[in-house]
Symmetry: C2
Subunit: 162 residues, 2 copies
């Protein structure tokens, strides 16, 4: 059970978009080049963000992506779910129903106890991601990344932002 690599890509792309000046856009091409990723496939991840309403897009030269909301209003969960989907990690196939002792007309009243427990763990995972904002990530990165690298990266992006 492993998350799609697109989740990692989307999170890093959002971190870059969070540093973009108001009203400007960054293209898939620039984001792919900055992160060393395949442009066409990264595009699918960005389309996921777009469909979820997390980013705005603009066509044509100087077009691309920008955040649709302030970084403080975007959670990790928003981004992860936009790319990975909202499905639970545990799928209950209700195998209790195969019990040979079970009456044929018997109907379970509530979801299987096993599923309820596994789903509670899923929810704990979601809750943790819901508690981290994109702005939190930017705060950590601005502390950890050396100032020169931070500055040169910002300039690299600005040169390519429409």
């Amino acid at each position: 059970m492993i998350l799609k690599s697109q989740v990692e890509w989307a999170l890093h792309c959002c971190a870059i978009l969070a540093g973009l000046p108001e009203g400007r856009y960054l293209s898939t091409k620039a984001l792919a080049e900055f992160h060393g990723l395949p442009k066409e496939y990264l595009s699918k991840a960005l389309q996921g963000l777009s469909q979820a309403g997390l980013v705005d897009t603009a066509l044509g030269p100087s077009g691309g992506y920008r955040l649709a909301k302030p970084p403080a209003d975007l959670t990790f969960l928003d981004i992860v779910e936009a790319v990975e989907g909202r499905q639970r990690t545990f799928v209950c196939t209700n195998i209790r129903a195969n019990n040979p002792c079970r009456p044929k007309d018997y109907c379970e009243s509530s979801p299987c106890a096993v599923a309820r427990i596994m789903w509670a763990a899923d929810e704990a995972w979601r809750e943790k991601l819901r508690g981290v904002k994109l702005s939190d990530l930017v705060g950590i990165l601005s502390q950890e990344i050396p100032p020169e690298l931070w500055k040169s990266s910002f300039e690299w992006v600005l040169e390519r932002a429409g």
Copy 2:
């Protein structure tokens, strides 16, 4: 990102084994029949439990599986990890290293901030599963399952336990 169906199977099988009288074993065949599962493939899941030391096995007629510990000493996490593995759901490919502005001799001191956040969510998931014992599940099931079904299932298992 979906857990293997074998995780569901293993959890239900452990719930059955928890009801087995001291010193007796239940075969893959019986467990597969009880849950309506493919015997050969279920066998792989049970081998996972065995390799993790969660169950004891016995060969020959009247052989099979039994729990290696009391149900109160077996957590959901034990069972899930035995089948699914202990790998994290988020794999960091360190794409920050592809940043074209990064000096060639530059070396990151600590894991990527994105990975640390995602791993913290993984840990919250694990912590939730670590907090649920197999005995808790048995307690819930004994409350929820109608007494006749509970009883007949127990008898069905006893008839086949070696």
